[in-house]
Symmetry: C2
Subunit: 251 residues, 2 copies
């Protein structure tokens, strides 16, 4: 029985934590989707760039696993660094890619949560005023397209450290994005929001450090627990593909 | 204008060459598909495992680029280590994943070649007798599903060094698979086959070393040239997603 977690958004969801900073969690119940199939989790979980590293979904999945004995937990990595909300529009490449991956994953698992972290790219003067409205449209579209009406969506605040970023001065507008994120969460009983309070960057005034990413993943999980339907019945999915796995597949 | 190359098969197509052995080609016309969009090429090109490394598509794409000035070249990485021909069956996870990626890539590019390297997993006594027939079905299905009737498919021989593999003694049957691969190529004017003669392993009696992978990619390209329609007109595709790329996307 596999429960899966779809992760979407930009670089801080993909994860840019230095992989030397924190060891991988030891949990053989955790998996990542590769080519539509499950592999034992390894880093980087979300290989969208050569710079991909530690990901907040690692600690989220680990806590989920510990609370759900007997269940395997699969991460569906679809986050893409630097992308703005317009690039996540319905019918666009990123939206359709995530839907395709979710569809493949759903053949052998049931999606139990969707995690979103995004908004840095929308801090500009032109973009932040329309962010809340656009985000709602995107999240609703994922829910409708993938039939996830009863599945918790957890979103997360931007790190306040980005206000020090000298390369992208528009990041000083991040409080408007964080307000929009909180408004979206408040307006929908199946959306939770994880606070970024006190979390630190990796030294670039842009990306959470590894320790903060794992802490943020735990905060996402605590918000998930508030929305989770503990009585939900997950149906066993056929996994025909696993049946013909060969011993060569480790290589 | 983007021409793209779909790569499918098992670990020797994904590429397991040590990335320290050979430098990355310097060519800013080369790209890899990530989340349905194009990124400047980086290693590993085909991140199917933590062990992914140098890939034969690197040298193939580089030669293609030099012969096609003014064109960007994108690699669609869908190879998956250790997979047998049954796992590439029509409607299976790997087949559908590759079709989804090809569909996304085709919104902003035109597929110019398909590269296949696979068969090690089918060297067992039970599997090799039916390999030729199954391979034909899979390649024909890709061609039909993706509308690639006029596109060269290039396949490649297994390395003869696998006969020394003590962990998987059934690999001694590789000549039967190589015969099947050659038969498939001979039976179809749009399928070419690259020889593995003289190529070396990386020391594991299973995977081509980096230098041999790049040589094999060049051999694939020389076979491609024999089948290429030099008068083919590629239509320019709209790239709406590029229009809203932000400077943050490098991060």
């Amino acid at each position: 029985m596999m429960h899966s977690i779809l992760i979407i958004g930009q670089s801080n969801m993909a994860g840019r934590g230095d992989m030397c900073d924190v060891p991988m969690v030891e949990n053989d119940k955790l998996f990542v989707l590769r080519n539509g199939r499950w592999r034992p989790m390894y880093r980087p979980v979300n290989p969208d760039r050569g710079t991909a590293g530690v990901c907040l979904a690692e600690s989220f999945a680990d806590l989920y696993s510990k609370d759900h004995p007997g269940v395997d937990v699969g991460i569906i990595p679809c986050a893409d660094g630097g992308t703005g909300i317009d690039q996540w529009c319905v019918g666009g490449l990123l939206f359709d890619h995530a839907c395709y991956m979710a569809e493949l994953a759903s053949r052998t698992s049931t999606i139990a949560a969707v995690l979103w972290h995004q908004g840095e790219a929308d801090c500009t003067e032109v973009r932040y005023p329309v962010y809340e409205e656009k985000l709602k449209v995107v999240l609703d579209a994922f829910r409708e397209k993938l039939g996830l009406q009863d599945v918790p969506f957890i979103i997360g605040e931007l790190g306040s450290f980005i206000e020090n970023n000298v390369w992208m001065p528009y990041l000083k507008n991040h409080p408007y994005i964080n307000k929009a994120l909180n408004n979206v969460a408040e307006s929908d009983k199946m959306i939770g929001i994880a606070s970024s309070e006190g979390l630190r960057d990796k030294g670039d005034d842009l990306h959470f450090c590894s320790e903060s990413l794992l802490e943020l993943g735990e905060r996402y999980y605590r918000e998930f627990v508030k929305l989770e339907d503990k009585n939900k019945v997950f149906t066993e999915k056929a996994t025909p593909d696993n049946a013909i796995r060969t011993n060569m597949e480790l290589l």
